[in-house]
């Protein structure tokens, strides 16, 4: 039986004929060969006509689902028993097949029991297939097409709808964390609506490391506006063979997002609703000093600071500031299909309040996907998402909470805000903060699929992605007073208001020609295309002061707020306007991929993309990205037939080049900057302009060359499925901003972008899944992980500029990371400590310090270079923020109507720098470990004598923590009501569940979370007092009717 899928089509009906089998079919074959040269449409029409001429022939449609999950089964083969007439289901599990009744239809799918159904003229046949303890053969979405997993020669990981909604999060990409090997999703902050950092296979650039997202064919930078419930599947393209089709944008990986579409289901619309409500709370408190302990330590630092340490107040700022906050997520969808169209409509509401007051995020997601079968040769369709959102951003009071002395009170007796020396009263900052960001993101495309012949399809798609955001930030005039009635530093003399807006619009026009053909044992699947994209953006910002009244209805800019000479306020210069430097470019691309499969066993893939980008000057505008891959389905070889242990085995290897061009578009230009000159008496402002930043007209693309070797296998009838990948990727010509000699006159901190660095990422990924069923007990256990070896191979070099990148600047300007050849990107750099000086004699016998006068109880820094002086030359590498191993463990159990799911994730081999503890220009509160301080010879060799700052707070390994952690990320317990109960309330299916996210984290780090993300690669793993990550407990309901 040879059944083939036609890829990349919405209607996937393909006929395969073996003429010798039956009389009808012989006749059919004659027609078929006779009309082979005609358009597919004509053939098809004729065939329908031919079938209907024999009155018994009619078309049956339906959907095939898995009995256990109720998920549809794309790629199921259906054929009329005793003939070679057949088809396979499309990506949504739908099929349509003309059949001559009576007949027996055979439904088969790898991993499921084959089922035979008596056909007696039904128009609709919905079939459920039982698991055969052999895993299902997936259809995988790849760039500009789909492919059966067994025909895939690249490295692609997939996650399906049911797993995407397991985590309650604003951004669907959170669902990839711990579920896909080689992908790391890290929250930068726990603030509602904040986007996480996503990295695929390590860090290969100093620039934007984010993968690109392809949502139903439209290339995007972000998917936070999508509703997880609207997504059918996400595929992560990891190796060069898979990503090369996205050429210049593939280097950071590609995440394909396919949203849901309608399915034929018993001829009516399926409604489904899911609702979830939960609470979030601070997952972990930082152990800080109490008032009494703070008084004790203060007395240690300066005797007599507090006469009676038992009589001081004790304010637990964390308890006061962090609250329990609600989170809700509701979603309603309707989907359905007929012979001529299918549709999916979804509307969702997500609302999350932060555990810090005045932080909120809500979005309403609307989704429409529709596909119309206009004629047998033309499909038209639309995918559309419109998401209005509203965000309130709280000031970052976490750092204040960490620093505020516990002896201070938030309020005076009269209820007014108390002064919190040195850090400001967090409640006052919250009270007077009004920072809002509202906007709408709309994304969609319309497309046409034209089938020229049954082998050749043309698709054109015009996509739009637009966003408009407006921001309002109002701070009233206020003063927090000292106890003596004078004004403290925490005040805003004049109320101020900032209004800002930005808009972005991208259009993307893609044209592809797909060709699928089988010649005996050969199969070719090819796609070629031409695409154009243009992105523009603009922002505008204006600040006024001394707003006439505080109320929300006055939050509009008025000329008198900008020109206010009466109050010495003249803020004309705070009006600014420009384009987003990352969002102003155009691209032209040519793409090609051919997949050749021989005997169903040998796969060869070649991919090529040429990209031209406006970000580079004419000479460097175009770059070319080839890739090659091969796969071998070993288990289909004769010699494997008798090896029952191994049910599946595939080897694959790929090599290719991809690019990264995510840099600001202006870096090649040398700009003229504008200034203000001041002359006259009284002073007046005059315009001034001169040479500003120097550009580099020679900039070109970053190129990543990646090799991947993979093995996929199924053992014991696919009870155990295992996938292994080894990858090795070198990114060269990395665009890096290098310091140039000061005499170039660019000014402090100004850098020039060069193609001047090279980075290696190497690793091993595995994904193991065991599933089985014992009686009514079904279970699956998965374990996946990936190693990362990150190493800088080159910086600077021929450009003659610096070979060291300094980064990770703390709030006081001290850098914590250093990047140079032989080290990972953003490695920590500082002093190594060797205990605490116990006596003055020990100090006297130790190498001379250049600056500080030391006391017993101070830290002993190691004289690394052995020159007899402790100075900055003794700093060294203290570890990497990049984990060496990240892993995830999942377990799912089903017993009768109960289901249970557990997901654990973690990482090891990385370090965290506790930046928030180091920066202390003023007396702040301490972490509790200070109580174990040195108080005299022999008392401590770890914790130095306490001090409010100074020598012991130099950047050293004292602030380095092991970043390893294991987190219970997701626990779900569900119960599905018996079907007859559900039916009584007109439901098809009703499931209720309870869930906990981020339940517990095992970690040695003292901060809120060991998962510290950063947008900048040189600033990774530094805890500067981030908005804490929360634990979420929720209850939910899923129902379909």
């Amino acid at each position: 039986m040879i059944i083939r899928q036609v890829y990349n089509l919405n209607v996937l009906t393909v006929y395969v004929f073996k003429p010798e089998k039956s009389e009808t079919m012989v006749r059919f074959t004659i027609h078929s060969s006779k009309f082979r040269l005609f358009k597919a449409g004509l053939v098809f029409t004729f065939l329908l006509f031919a079938f209907s001429a024999f009155s018994q022939v009619q078309t049956v449609t339906g959907t095939v689902r898995a009995a256990d999950t109720r998920e549809t089964l794309p790629g199921t083969s259906i054929f009329v028993k005793g003939t070679t007439v057949g088809t396979i289901t499309d990506i949504d599990g739908n099929f349509s097949l003309p059949v001559e009744s009576p007949a027996i239809l055979v439904f088969s799918f790898i991993g499921y029991e084959t089922q035979e159904v008596q056909f007696t003229g039904q128009t609709v046949l919905n079939i459920t297939l039982e698991t055969s303890k052999v895993a299902l053969e997936e259809i995988v979405v790849i760039g500009y097409g789909t492919v059966r997993k067994s025909d895939l020669s690249g490295s692609v990981a997939s996650i399906k709808a049911e797993d995407i909604t397991k985590i309650t999060a604003a951004n669907p990409v959170q669902s990839l964390q711990g579920r896909v090997s080689g992908v790391q999703v890290t929250s930068v902050t726990g603030a509602p609506g904040a986007s996480p950092v996503v990295r695929v296979r390590g860090i290969g650039t100093f620039n934007n490391t984010s993968p690109i997202y392809v949502v139903d064919g439209v290339i995007l930078d972000d998917i936070s506006f999508l509703n997880a419930s609207d997504i059918a599947s996400m595929e992560v393209l990891k190796d060069a063979s898979a990503t090369a089709i996205y050429g210049s944008r593939g280097a950071n990986g590609v995440i394909m997002v396919t949203t849901k579409s309608g399915k034929v289901a018993e001829g009516k619309t399926v409604f489904s609703f899911s609702g979830e409500a939960g609470i979030q709370r601070l997952a972990k408190k930082i152990d800080l000093l109490t008032g009494r302990e703070f008084a004790i330590i203060s007395n240690d630092i300066k005797a007599g600071s507090y006469n009676n340490v038992d009589a001081v107040p004790n304010t637990d700022w964390q308890d006061l500031v962090f609250d329990i906050a609600p989170i809700q997520n509701y979603q309603l969808s309707a989907s359905g299909a007929s012979n001529t169209m299918n549709y999916y409509l979804g509307v969702g509401y997500f609302n999350q309040s932060g555990i810090i007051d005045k932080s909120k995020y809500q979005k309403i997601t609307t989704k429409l996907n529709a596909n119309f079968n206009m004629t047998h040769w033309l499909d038209l369709g639309i995918n559309l998402s419109v998401t209005p959102f509203k965000q309130q951003i709280a000031p970052n009071v976490t750092y204040q909470v960490y620093r505020a002395q516990p002896l201070l009170m938030p309020y005076y007796d009269d209820g007014s805000f108390g002064v919190v020396y040195n850090v400001g009263n967090p409640f006052a900052d919250l009270e007077y903060s009004n920072n809002f960001r509202d906007g709408v993101r709309a994304m969609g495309n319309i497309y046409a699929d034209v089938k020229f012949t049954k082998d050749l399809t043309f698709k054109t798609s015009y996509g739009l992605d637009g966003e408009y955001v407006k921001a309002t930030n109002f701070t009233p005039a206020f003063t927090v007073y000292n106890p003596d009635g004078t004004a403290s530093q925490q005040q805003n003399i004049y109320s101020d208001l900032t209004k800002a807006s930005n808009d972005m619009l991208t259009w993307l026009w893609e044209n592809t020609l797909s060709y699928n053909k089988e010649f005996g044992e050969h199969m070719i699947d090819a796609v070629a295309g031409y695409t154009m994209q243009n992105t523009t953006s603009e922002w505008f910002s204006i600040t006024g002061a001394n707003i006439i009244r505080d109320g929300e209805s006055f939050w509009y800019i008025n000329p008198s707020y900008i020109q206010d000479p009466a109050n010495d306020i003249n803020n004309v210069s705070t009006i600014s306007n420009g384009v987003d430097l990352g969002l102003n470019y155009s691209m032209i691309s040519y793409l090609f991929r051919a997949n050749y499969i021989f005997k169903n066993k040998y796969i060869l893939t070649a991919t090529f993309r040429s990209d031209g980008s406006s970000k580079f000057s004419k000479e460097n505008q175009y770059a070319h990205f080839p890739s090659f891959a091969a796969g071998w389905n070993v288990s289909r070889e004769k010699f494997m037939e008798n090896i029952d242990l191994i049910s599946r085995l595939k080897l694959r290897a790929s090599w290719g080049k991809v690019g990264n061009e995510k840099i600001p578009y202006d870096r090649r230009f040398s700009i003229v900057s504008n200034h203000i000159a001041v002359f006259g008496d009284p002073s007046a402002a005059y315009p001034a302009s001169s040479f500003g930043r120097l550009g580099n007209p020679d900039l070109k693309w970053e190129t990543t060359t990646q090799t991947d070797i993979g093995l996929e296998t199924g053992i014991l009838n696919d009870r155990l499925i295992a996938e292994f990948d080894f990858y090795h990727k070198i990114t060269s010509d990395i665009l890096v901003d290098l310091t140039v000699p000061g005499y170039y006159g660019n000014g402090q901190g100004a850098r020039i972008t060069y193609n001047a660095a090279e980075v290696l990422n190497r690793g091993f990924e595995f994904n193991l899944m065991w599933r089985d069923q014992v009686g009514e007990f079904k279970y699956n256990i998965g374990f996946l992980g990936s190693t990362i070896h990150n190493e800088v191979l080159k910086i600077g070099g021929a450009s003659g500029i610096d070979s060291v990148l300094i980064g990770g600047y703390l709030a006081n300007g001290q850098p914590v990371t250093r990047t140079e050849v032989g080290q990972p990107i953003g490695a920590f750099y500082g002093y190594v400590t060797d205990g605490v000086f116990q006596t003055q004699e020990e100090i006297d016998n130790y190498p001379v310090y250049t600056q500080e006068e030391l006391q017993p109880g101070d830290l002993r820094y190691v004289d690394i270079n052995g020159d007899g002086v402790i100075n900055p030359l003794d700093r060294t590498y203290l570890g990497s923020p990049i984990p060496k191993f990240i892993f995830g463990f999942s377990a799912g159990f089903e017993y009768k109507r109960f289901d249970f799911f557990l997901n654990i994730q973690g990482q090891t081999g990385n370090k965290i720098f506790n930046g928030k503890e180091v920066v202390r220009p003023d007396p702040y509160n301490f972490e509790a470990h200070v109580m174990d301080r040195w108080t005299g010879p022999g008392t401590s060799n770890d914790e130095p004598r306490p001090a409010f700052g100074g020598y012991n707070y130099n950047i050293s390994d004292r602030f380095i923590y092991d970043g390893s952690f294991v987190r219970i990320r997701n626990v779900i317990l569900g119960y599905t009501l018996p079907i007859d109960w559900s039916n009584k309330v007109f439901m098809q299916n009703l499931r209720v569940y309870v869930k906990a996210d981020n339940l517990y984290t095992f970690s040695k780090f003292t901060g809120y979370t060991p998962e510290i993300g950063s947008g900048g690669v040189l600033d990774n793993g530094i805890d500067n007092g981030i908005y804490p990550i929360t634990a979420v407990y929720s209850i939910g309901i899923n129902l379909t009717f």
Binding site: F452, N570, S573, S586, I676, F679, G680, A685, P687, G747
Partner: protein, 493 residues
Amino acid sequence: MKKINIIPAFIVILFLNGCSDFLDKELQNSLTQEAFPVTESDALLATNTTYTTLREWFYHSGGYPILDFMSDDAHKGSNPNDQLPTLGPYETFGHTPSQDGLDRWWNTLYLGVKRCNVVLDYVPEIQMNPALRDRYLAEASFIRGLLYFDMVRAWGGIPLVTSTNPPASLGRSDAEEVYALIIADLEVAVRDLPERNEYSGDDKGRATKGAAKALLAKVYLFRQEYTKAEPLLMEVINSGLYGLEPVFTDANSVNGNHGIESVFEIGAMQLESTDAGGNQYANTQGVRGTPNRGWGFNRPSLDLRNAFEQGDPRLKGTIIDLGDVIDGVTILGDGSTPDETTDEDGNVIEVECYNRKVWVPGTTTITQWGHQRRLIRYADVLLMAAEVLNENNKPGMSIFYLNMVRARAREGNNSILPDIMITDQALLRDIILQERRYELAMEGHRYWDLVRTGKAPEVLGPHGFVTGKHELLPIPQTEIDISQGTLSQNPNW
């Protein structure tokens, strides 16, 4: 059938042809350097920018007044821990080539040089009013000389950049070459700049012939070329365009902005932003806490306080103490800064006090941003004249100008600050140096005065000054690293 196949290909080709410039995106919202400066108004814009460098916070010795920290006039200030590891070492000459601020100062001075070079490279090519062109070139030459003079005093020989397109690997010129350029630039400025009264009122703050002469004289003074300095100083004095403010504090205050004593000052707007026209110089040193919410750096030392002659009003014209009432505003100071700092033996070594020279009336930070720093004031010109005349063996004239400065300081109280009658060259030399301290303390002169007069080892030795090393600052380590061996470090660093 064939037609349908052709359509998409046709569309594609159509677009390809129609969009040959599709990938050409111009820079938005900025000129590129290829297109500037080309007009007369461009020439003015470029010239104006040479002055904006002087309002950059980093222009002022990297942001913090480290030159005063290194002198006997001042301590770091602010509260004890504030910037202690970054700024504290300057007080004790414990600073290193990586010390905070050195790179900022270096880079910003070169930023200023580049802005001058834009004018000097391109304005000569512009078709424009020749008189105006000469003035613009002279203004840029003056600013470039001013910047290089800071550099040569701070670091000695440095890479000498005279065009907007310097070579990729430039080594240090020796100090003589740097001085040669400074002198040449300032000679152009002396020749082509208008006198202060030849500018319109809107142009106050631009470089003048008088300022150029005073600066060039100062250059000669530092080079001990007294005979070259003398005529320049006498021309400034005899021009009749300058004088002393009757009240000492007005020499630096808002009352004296662009006043009779101002030879060259940096205009500023009262706006809390450098980009908008403000200058953070005074805010950095302003009273910490109430009323100014300044940062409180540069704390006058007890040594300075005790140095003043009995009754010299310039003591209170230099130091703000807690409890003072200035311009109707009471000084309360900072709650987190100790009022007194003592050593192990209980001796008071510092008291909380602030720099009066940057005082701006007001109770907010905003007003401080409008402070107009005087880079050259007439009292300095008179004291330079006194010094030069003494060196040129004209002690009578020397004490004449010296006593002009003392007379103003007296502010009418004849019981204090008697006229100096000593004419012995060596004694007078010391007296003039002392007078410079009283008159110009906390204005950034003292450290360099001690170094150039050879007094630094004696006065600053107890602070940690090492002869043969601390006369110069170390070249910033980042510059040494970037140069990959082209730049050498100063001796003994």
